[in-house]
Amino acid sequence: MTVKLTALSAVGSLVWGTLLAGMRVSPVPLMRGFGTAYVNIVRNIPLTVIILFSSLGLADVFGMTLGAEDFKIQGFRLAVLGLSAYTAAFVCEAIRSGINTVPMGQAEAARAIGLSFTQTLTLIVLPQAFRSVIGPLANVLIALTKNTTVAAAIGVAEAAYLMKTMIENEAQTLLIGAVFAFGFVVLTLPTGLILGWLSKRLAVKR
């Protein structure tokens, strides 16, 4: 469950975060303003508030069930939504810093051969930016893996929820705690190592 939650939210936040980053560097002031406001607001709210709001607010009051019949599936989808919205702000910041690392000459050359803003961004700058932000994005991914535990607050049966129920029912607190802790180390450590290696390999050599 933790892995599924992480994977889906990662994809969601990557797409939304890239769009936001695009908005933040775009020539349209309103879009820039929206991107900046979104990032600043979302980054400063605890994830717990967002997740809880998506459950209590969106689902219970507004009746947004996201097409799920069963309460569990609904909780899961809402958790993915909340996690994506939250993580997107961090993805956006990472990509924006990546865009800043692409040498000016690249964008200038692109403009010189007459590419438009969208073309410059999607064909020239973003492909290079992505390769340089694999490291920071890996950090975001690891943080996301850890953040999925927050979904336990709305009853999604991921690691923290299972641990809480197990600890309450069984006697061996220490052992259960250690197993779950170890599980997370196993999840995050290889992610960090593999992506760290990847980021070095794919880094644009300059």
């Binding site: 560097v25 349209v28 508030v49 809880l52 209590l56 535990t149 997370f184 180390v185």
Partner: protein, 300 residues
């Protein structure tokens, strides 16, 4: 703002940008209108639901005590985590291999575990093995979880802070005959602390946000938790969420702005060595491995 990504707009591009602005504005307005309509549909805009926030009772009984608890837990965690983090951070730079290895393992271990698991575990531990009263337990558990996690993040901050100082500082200290301990305490640490300040302040934001976890999972009466009681009392789920979110945003925005101001101020001031750990650094350190002990070189 001038950007290299696009040309200075000419007449046609200006018209196009205005068009985009209008389209985007309309979309945004539609979205907001739709949210507004939805809220109206569900009667979330009636003044009865918002009225409690204009009276002092909602604030004095629910929100302010909640805020106080949030701040209390955050401050306590910070105060305990800082020295611990300093010790572990320095230990990771030790000349003795086993000291490095032990502290490194501890730091990396606690950094790769979610805070929530630490809190849950601490809560259960206190419940079973100690005689902390059940009233105090949530606070203890929240603080323990936060301390364990943040001490290890701060350890990395301290380590990065010390490593960010120019090497000449250490060399000069050795040259005038200071010992390792003296070098650390009278040359490196004082400078590193200044360099670390922005990073420490922005770590405070993370701590404040994480206290909310304790409210939901352990029943610690902090801001988010008291929102629940408030909403149960006045039956205003959405307004209470919005008010609490705004409180968090304002609080954290003040902290972030202060951290960035501090960063700029320290970069400008002439007295330091110019080594400053930026605010962005913290985001990287809060994730586990990458850029940390195993040195992928992603950060720095």
């Amino acid at each position: 703002m001038s950007s290299v990504l696009y040309d200075t707009p000419g007449p046609r591009a200006k018209r196009r940008n205005v068009l985009f602005s209008v389209v985007f504005f309309v979309l945004l307005a539609l979205l907001l209108w739709w949210v507004w309509q939805k809220m109206d549909d569900k009667d979330q805009l009636t003044s009865a639901l918002w009225k409690p926030f204009t009276e002092s009772e909602a604030w004095t009984t629910y929100l302010l005590p909640g805020l106080e608890n949030t701040l209390k837990a955050a401050a306590l965690s910070m105060v305990i985590a800082l020295p611990l983090g300093a010790v572990f951070g320095i230990a990771r730079l030790s000349d003795h291999r086993w000291v490095r290895a032990v502290s490194g393992t501890v730091v990396e271990f606690f950094r790769s575990i979610p805070v929530l698991l630490l809190m849950l575990f601490a809560n259960e531990f206190y419940a079973r093995s100690t005689d902390v009263t059940s009233e105090d337990r949530p606070l203890y558990a929240v603080v323990t979880g936060l301390v364990l996690y943040n001490a290890s993040v701060l350890a990395e901050v301290v380590r990065a802070g010390i490593l960010s100082l120019p090497k000449g500082q250490t060399e000069a200290a050795y040259a005038i005959g200071l010992r390792k301990g003296q070098t650390m305490s009278s040359i490196l640490l004082p400078q590193a602390v200044t360099a670390m300040l922005p990073a420490i302040v922005s770590q405070l934001v993370v701590i404040v946000k994480d206290t909310a976890l304790g409210g939901v999972m352990l029943g610690f009466p902090e801001l988010l938790n008291s929102r629940g009681t408030l909403a149960a009392n006045y039956a205003n789920v959405i307004p209470s969420f919005i008010v609490v979110a705004i409180m968090f945003i304002v609080l954290n925005f003040i902290l972030t702005s202060f951290a960035s101001w501090l960063e700029r101020y320290l970069r400008r001031s002439k007295r330091s060595t110019g080594a400053v750990l930026g605010v962005d650094k913290v985001d990287d350190l809060n994730a586990a491995e990458v850029g940390g002990g195993f040195g992928s070189g992603a950060s720095a």
